[in-house]
Amino acid sequence: MRKIDVIIIGAGHAGLAMSRCLSLRSIDHVVIERGDIANSWRTERRDSLRLLTPNWQRRLPGFAYEGDDPNGFATMPETIAFLTRYARLIAAPVETRTRVTSVRRADTGYLVATTRGDWHCRALVLASGACNIASVPRLPEKLPAAIQTLTPMDYRNPGELKHGGVLVVGAAATGIQLANEIHRSGRPVTLAVGEHIRAPRSYRGRDIQWWMDAAGVLDQRFDEIDDIERARRVPSFQLVGSLARTTVDLNALRDIGVQFTGRVVGLSGGKIWCSGSLPNQCAMSDLKLGRLLDTFDRWATDNGRDAEFDPPHRLAPTLVDDNPPLSIDLAKRNIRTIVWATGYRVDLSWLHVPVLDRKGRVRHDGGIVDAPGMYLMGMPFLRRRKSALIDGAADDARELSDHLASYLAVLPAAAVQPKIERFREWLQAEPAATSADAELSNPVS
């Protein structure tokens, strides 16, 4: 049984950001990671995926992007390389290939059992990600066996799909990206559309993420929002990170021949049934987009910066057919594959501490979990609208590590001896840091 002050579960960007903040406070900790650093990015993402956020927005504590393509969008290999290098730069104490099998309360802390032995810690940070399991709606009947079904977790590229029609369910970022690349691969796509958030890639000459950042939308705090539960469930913007900086909204998909239906609501008699609410979903999305662009325009005017940008404009309304189909006859449409781009949920099945609400969500107040010394990172709108973005981890980690440090300070008799042991081990084990240290521009951050 090893003892340590803090365990961070997950070595993705959120876990690493927290590790950096704890190291700056000399708080003894370890990051337990079931795979290699940036595991989810390595094993659970499709080939063509690029980040939705531009490179300049790839900021973590002590790290700012200093490459030559600030407005580009990182590929998966680039994202993995960046996180791996970050972990090395901050000398994050990561135990890789170590899976947490259970977490239980213990005296003054938690018992963390792993595939490589047990730990006792005084405080715990859950940074295992918001997208562990693909959510697939339960259907009352089984789909025909010949139909291939996939989620974004197992989909890699269109070439792996059977030839023929594809039904993509869900029109948030993943859904529209998949509809676009699959349809362009020669497999006719039908896209089932529920609630979605339309967003242009660029507005008035700047990337939309630039506006979201500059106008303060990303910094909106969880305790300033009317209905935070609803805000935390908002689907991701319909954005693509691409070299061409294209906007892939429903109108763009319509232009290449994608067909649309409303939200999937059932399956019977070989037909998928769809809601008749598609016109309303599209109207609502257009109205939300209008309000967002109004926010940007108001900010530009209030700050006397209108002259810096192209004039304001609005996108054409989303076109909707007069009578969108209410059902998809799988055989008649030759649907050979269904891709469920219907969101993700968290897997905390190993967490045996009663912190979940009746819907299986962690009970927390801005990341401070409803259990002593337990913290949560990397969830949508955890503390700010940007919390689930890479750029959101730094502020959250800073504030939560503040709270964690105070929490540890008031616990009974800190373990001084184990800290010295661990320092000795580190001195003997750590290789010297490389010249890439230059990227750590501001050690005190």
Partner: protein, 186 residues
């Protein structure tokens, strides 16, 4: 001279609704309602329905008075035309549900309504119900609702009221999504 703010009043007690939301989130059993109507055959295609009680908040609730509805088919269906057709009741339900929603959302958003009126149209190919063509459904081919709203708000704000009302409307959901219907004979 002071200018006092005119309070927005659409007649909806939004505070009570929000209070109810919070209470029900903590006691979801109380949120299980059962709406009821009874229906008695009169003659021909004429029947009379009544609504007087429902179950909710854990107990049977009585309405202030008993509501009565006559339903019948029109003369072109060789009927007596003693009441609106059942499908027209559905259009009434949709219009009323969306209108109530608009009032509630407007109150919550502090928008003063002056008038709201809707025209609700349901297109139907009666070859379905007459059994003439089995490819034709019994129900509506489509429903169109047209709202005229006069309010202290911009055109976009009014569109947003109407859109939000659909999002939270019971009858809109009933009409656009499948619902299990079990019919038994006792």
């Amino acid at each position: 001279m002071t200018i006092s703010a005119i309070a927005v009043n659409n007649g909806v007690n939004v505070e009570a609704l929000i209070g109810a939301r919070e209470a029900l989130a903590k006691a979801p059993e109380a949120a299980q309602f059962r709406w009821q109507a009874t229906c008695d055959w009169m003659n021909g295609t004429h029947s009379r329905a009544t609504v007087s009680k429902f179950f909710g908040l854990g107990q049977e609730q009585q309405r202030k008075s008993e509501f009565r509805f006559d339903a019948d088919h029109p003369e072109v269906f060789a009927s007596e035309d003693l009441g609106a057709t059942p499908v027209e009741y559905v259009l009434v339900g949709l219009g009323a549900c969306l209108t109530a929603g608009i009032a509630a959302v407007a109150q919550h958003r502090k928008i003063q309504l002056r008038s709201v009126s809707a025209t609700i149209e349901g297109a139907m190919d009666i070859q379905g119900i007459l059994g003439v063509d089995s490819d034709v459904r019994n129900g509506f081919e489509g429903i169109k609702v047209s709202f005229k709203v006069d309010a202290d708000a911009t055109a976009d704000e009014i569109k947003a009221l109407v859109a939000q009302s659909q999002k939270r409307s019971a009858v809109f959901d009933v009409v656009t999504n499948p619902t299990n219907v079990t019919v038994e004979v006792v």
